[in-house]
């Protein structure tokens, strides 16, 4: 056979690459538990993954950057909008995204399933994935946060706002779009009203679609409110 050498090159090239590939696969399995905090991979998290698959969430959203690009990436959504935000999105998408240019369907997710989804997203958000995606970067600051800092200076209130509210609200164009932009919110509410609104939005704006931000400490509420009251 004239092409014997060519055939051996084919075989050798393939086997070398295969060996590297399988070796690294073994290494990945060895390290993955630590990298993903598999000890926290509880039955509830797995139940959440079943809901995620069963409701075809991945056919519109990406997670770890894979899937479909129609809707926001959900890798760090738990850190971005919190448990209350996630529940508002999945239980009442028609309300939460009423004014959006793109709608999320109501998929008939039950309260229990929503809780499982939250557990799932919380677990996913802690996977050590080299700090992707850039918009939710933890180490260093995300681009949105840097811009805010440039415009507002780093007061305690601005810092807490970045962490707790920016997944849904923007200032100076930076930040999320579930809630309205808050550039001029100081003309509408004073600091005391905003403090009240954070914990109980409907008490200030009847029928407000904003989920109560119960996870924000009293001191942070105060600081955020003072910061926002200056936005005029």
């Amino acid at each position: 056979m004239v092409n014997r050498n060519a055939f051996f090159i084919f075989l050798a090239g393939t086997l070398i690459s295969l060996a590297i590939f399988l070796g690294l696969t073994w290494d990945t399995h060895r390290q993955v538990n630590a990298l993903t905090h598999a000890d926290k991979l509880s039955e509830e998290v797995v139940a959440g993954k079943h809901v995620w698959a069963g409701k075809n969430c991945n056919e519109c959203h990406t997670i770890l950057g894979f899937g479909v690009y129609y809707a926001p990436d959900l890798t760090k959504v738990y850190k971005r909008i919190g448990a209350a935000g996630i529940k508002a999105a999945v239980l009442q998408p028609e309300v939460t995204f009423k004014n959006s240019i793109r709608h999320m369907p109501n998929l008939g997710v039950t309260e229990e399933q929503a809780t499982q989804l939250v557990a799932y997203f919380e677990w996913v958000s802690n996977i050590d994935n080299n700090d992707w995606p850039p918009q939710d970067r933890q180490a260093g600051q995300s681009a949105a946060q840097r811009r805010l800092e440039g415009s507002a200076g780093l007061s305690a209130g601005a810092a807490a706002f970045k962490e707790k509210c920016m997944g849904c609200h923007s200032i100076g164009g930076a930040g999320g779009s579930i809630g309205p932009a808050l550039d001029k919110v100081g003309t509408k509410f004073d600091a005391a009203t905003i403090t009240k609104l954070i914990g109980d939005p409907p008490s200030v704006v009847p029928g407000s679609r904003m989920p109560p931000q119960t996870g924000v400490s009293a001191a942070d509420r105060q600081a955020i409110a003072e910061f926002l009251a200056q936005q005029k």
């Binding site: 690459s17 990945t28 993903t36 995620w52 709608h103 999320m104």
Partner: protein, 484 residues
Amino acid sequence: MEQTSKVDASVATATTTQTADAAGGAIGRTRVGTALVPYASQRVAYWYFVIALALFGLQLLVGLWLAASYAFTMPQGLENALPYGMTRAIHTNLLVLWLLLGFMGGTYYLVPEEAQREIYSVKLAYLQLIALVGTGVTAIVGFLFGWTQGKPILEIPVPLDFVVVLGALIFLFNVGMTVLRGKKTAILGMLLGGLVFLALLYIFGMPFYRNLTIDWYYWWWVVHLWVEGAWELVTASILAFVLIKVTGVQRKVVEKYLYLETALFLFTGLAGTGHHYYWIGAPDVWLWVGAIFSAMEVLPIIAMVIDAFLTKRHEGYVIKDKVVWTFCMGTAIGHLIGAGVWGFAHTLPQINYYTHGSQITASHGHMAFFGAYALLNFAMFWYAIPRLRGITRYKPSLAIGGFWIMSLAVIGLGLAMAVAGVIQVYVERVLGQGFMTAQLHMQLWFKVVMFFGVVLIAGLAMTAWTMLKGRQEDSTEVEAVEIV
């Protein structure tokens, strides 16, 4: 019409000893029914091709709907009734289904000519076609009701997966038996190897993985190792077969390149899978291995283009079949642009960090699939279908026009998505504005995508019509493709 003189040596000797055999005489000269093929069983390929073309058409119509969902605001009620994701699943599954049917049809067409015997069982070939198309239709109807496994691209629910595996096993058995009992060539070996590899990989997409990281890890064993591994072997073999036929270049030469190119494809492509493991929670070593090996994935593609061009220059043969030749060149160059250039553009971690999972990815997906696999299938269709229909002479203008319309439409569509992608990366990921803010700025570009989508559909309609209904051209005054 003159008798062909440029059939390669091995086939020519074989045919002289075989002319009296029931299968027919010299290559391409005997009519079996209306078909002009040496082996009657090659005719099963026809139905694979026709169904593939129809499914491609359907895929494109659904594609328009997807682009419209991006370009305009769909009302909440519509989104509830038919979620975007289910239509998108139909788009991608139709793509995979028609490409695979095309490969299988191509295989059934070329295996008898290579192995120099009829297909082991024509009945099994039809049975398998029915099983696969039946599964496909069931799956797509199921998607409309949300019946899926919930994994992008591999949505087919597990029970249907088993039918797919069964269909694949029948296929491999049928082709394997034919090859075992016939002549064994390098092309057949590579083709069969690629097909077995392809089928094996599918299994890794079937289980439910508890850990999301592991889930995506094996998802790519299907998706990446298919398009950048197994499918490369299959298409390289099909391309080698077609090139031997249309240029008459020596088999020895083609086989040598076949081995060297596939060696490079697998050497770079296997470890190159790492370019999908940067951000999933896998060890950091993948950043290096993925970057280095996947950057080298461009080399075999360049080699393939050079090789295809040399085929013509080196041998100094007249290209008899201008149409098939155009599609062969088209797929080589389309592969280079879509997979080589577009793939390389976002394969290094420093860039991929920003472009990962954006419309840049979608742009690359379109250019690569079309250039590398859709055009390759079309090259085979244009080789086989006129013969299967018994056409010996036809005017090439519409076929070549179809090539240009479709190719330019996909380039337009891919560029529009790329612009949308750049906007997305800049607004969402560099400026840090909301996802939907970026989408708002991208809507215009999806209108452009829709425009090119319509052009593509027109190009396909024209191509399919010419291919399946185009007439024999008997007047010798007219310049025509001669099937010899």
